[in-house]
C-alpha cells in the first residue's frame, strides 16, 4: 500500500511521457513543434550547467514572490474580513488587478521599479496573492459561528479569536490557495522575466531558445519549471498534512503533547 502510494506519482510521470511520445509518433509532430521526451531529456542533459544556474535564479524569484504574495494576500484578506468598509472598497480593485493583462502594466512597472528584482516580485505577487485573498476571505466568512461565540463568551479579543479559532478553521481554504499559488508562482516568475527584467533566468532562457527555434531546449526548460511548480505544490500539501493532524489522527503526535506527566493508563 505504501509502495503503491509512492509508485503512483511515478506512474503519472510515465503516463505523461507515454502520451507525449505517442502524440509525437502518431501525429507525426515534427521536433521543432514538439520534441520527443527523449530529445527533451537529451537537451536537458546537454544544457544542464546553464539550466541549473538559471533555475536557481528563477527558483529564487518564485520563492520570494510566493512568500510576498501570500503575505500580502493574507493580510488583505484578514483586514477585509474584519473591516467591512475596506472589503467593499478593496475587493473590486483587487479583482481588477487580475483582469488587467500583465503586458499592459509592464511598461509603467519597469519605469517605476526599474529592471531589477522588484518588478518581477511584483508580478509574481500579483498572481499569487489573489487566490489567497479569495479563499481566505470566503473561508473566514464560512466559519462555524458556534466556536467563535464560545471564544467570544470567554471574553477573548479579536486577535486571540483569530489566532486560535478562525485561522485554524480556515486552514483548508488557505492551503488550497497556497497550493494554487505555488503552482502559479513559477508561471509568474517566467512572465516577470519576460516582461520586466534584464537579469537571467529560465524564463528568459526559454524565450531565447524559442526565438532560435530550439524547441527541445524550450521543453527542457519547461521540464525544470514544471518540476519547480510541482515541488512547491507538494511542499504545500505536506505542510497542510502537518498543520492539520486532527484530520488524520485520533490522538495528538507525541511531540505536540506538552510535558506529559506520564500516567499512560487511567487507573479507574
Amino acid at each position: 500500500m505504501r509502495t503503491l502510494r509512492l509508485a503512483t506519482p511515478l506512474l503519472a510521470v510515465l503516463l505523461v511521457l507515454a502520451i507525449w511520445q505517442l502524440a509525437v509518433t502518431l501525429l507525426h509532430i515534427p521536433p521543432y513543434v514538439l520534441p520527443s521526451p527523449g530529445k527533451t531529456w537529451q537537451a536537458l542533459l546537454d544544457d544542464w550547467p546553464n539550466i541549473s544556474t538559471l533555475a536557481g535564479h528563477t527558483l529564487y524569484e518564485t520563492i520570494v514572490g510566493f512568500l510576498t504574495g501570500t503575505a500580502v494576500g493574507f493580510l488583505l484578506a484578514v483586514t477585509m474580513a474584519h473591516l467591512k468598509a475596506t472589503h467593499r472598497i478593496l475587493y473590486p480593485i483587487l479583482i481588477a488587478t487580475q483582469a488587467v493583462p500583465i503586458v499592459a502594466i509592464a511598461a509603467p512597472l519597469v519605469i517605476l521599479l526599474g529592471y531589477g528584482l522588484a518588478p518581477k516580485l511584483v508580478i509574481v505577487s500579483l498572481i499569487v496573492f489573489f487566490p489567497v485573498v479569495v479563499n481566505v476571505l470566503d473561508g473566514l466568512a464560512g466559519i462555524d459561528t458556534g466556536m467563535v461565540n464560545l471564544a467570544r463568551s470567554m471574553g477573548a479579543g479579536p486577535a486571540k479569536i483569530f489566532l486560535l479559532i478562525r485561522l485554524p478553521a480556515t486552514l483548508t481554504p488557505l492551503f488550497s490557495a497556497l497550493k494554487l499559488g505555488a503552482a502559479y508562482a513559477v508561471t509568474g516568475a517566467v512572465i516577470g522575466e519576460w516582461t520586466a527584467s534584464i537579469t537571467p533566468g529560465l524564463g528568459k532562457d526559454l524565450l531565447l531558445k524559442n526565438s532560435r527555434l530550439d524547441t527541445a531546449g524550450v521543453y527542457a526548460d519547461v521540464l525544470v519549471l514544471t518540476a519547480i511548480g510541482l515541488g512547491g505544490f507538494l511542499l504545500m500539501t505536506l505542510l497542510e498534512r502537518l498543520a492539520t493532524p486532527w484530520r488524520t489522527r485520533g490522538t495528538a503526535r507525541r511531540r505536540l503533547r506538552p510535558s506529559t506527566t506520564s500516567d499512560p493508563k487511567d487507573p479507574r
Partner: protein
Amino acid sequence: ACGTGDTTQTADGLTEVKVAPSWIAPDITWIPYTVGITNGFYKDAGLSVTLVPPPDNASSVKIVATRQADIAETTTTDQMFAAKEQLPVISIANLSQTNNWGFFAPTGKKITAAQLKGLRVGVFDDAWTKAMLGVVLKKAGLTDNDIQPITATDGNVPLLIADKIDVATNTTNFAAPQYAQQTGKQPETLLATDAGAPDIPIWNYTANKQWLQEKPDLARTWLTATAKATEWAIEHPEEAVKAYQSFHKLKPADYANDLAQWQATIPLLKGSKDELFTATDAQWTELGQALKDAGQLDEVLPPATYYTNEYITK
C-alpha cells in the same frame, strides 16, 4: 529608477550607454554591439555599453523615451508612430538601408500579391508588419479582411513548414536561412518592394532627444564605435558570429544558421549607397506617405521631425 539626466560613470572611468534592442532575446542585429564590446571598440572610445532588452518588441522606443535607455534599435515605423504620439525620440541613424521585408511561401508554391486573398498569413504583432501588409494589400486591391492573419509571437517559419500557414511575412535575412536550415531548400519569396511598397530602411537607431541635447558627443562617439564594430563584423563574419555566440552563451549548434542570417544581413546594412547609417528625407517621406495611403497615419510630418544625420561622423 526613473530616468535622470545623469550619465553614469563606471568603475573604470567609462561612460555608460544603455541600448534597447528591438527584440526580446539575442538576435543577429545585436552582433555589432557584441563585437563592439568584445573587441573593445566601445572601451577604446571611453564607453561602456549595456543592453536592455524590451518587455515586448514594441517597447524599446518607450524605454528610450522614458530614459530607461539612451538609444533604441527599432523599426522605422516605430519612429513614425513615436513622432505621432509625441515621444521625445528621434532617429539618429539607419541600421539597414533597404526594405527586405516580404512574403515567404513553401518551395515550389510561388505567390503574387493578388493571390494572398483568402490565405493564412503568418504575421508578427509589430507596427512594421502591420504597415507593410497594409501597403501591399492596398496596392493589390485587397483589404485586411481578405486574408487570415495569424499572429506568431516568435518564429513563424515553423508554422510555414508545418503547413499551418500558407505564407509567412518576415525579412529575408531571418526567414530564408531559417527555412533553409529546417528544410534544406529556399522558400519562395515575394518582396514587398516587388508588390508596390517603397524601398525604405526597416531598422534604425533612435535616441532620446534630451539625452542628445545633453550629450551630443556621446551619441556621436557611440555611433562611431558602433560603425567600427559593424564594419569589422562585415569583414569578419565568422569571428563576429562566434563572438556573438559566446557572449550570449548561445548553442554552437546554431552557428551555421546564425552565420547564414548574418551573411544575409550584411548586404542590407549599406544598401546601394555603400555607406552605413546615413538617412535621407526621401526615405522618411516615402514611408510616411505609404502609411498615410494605407490609412494608418493621418498626416506626414516634415522629415526632420523623424530623423537627423547630425550625429553621424564620417
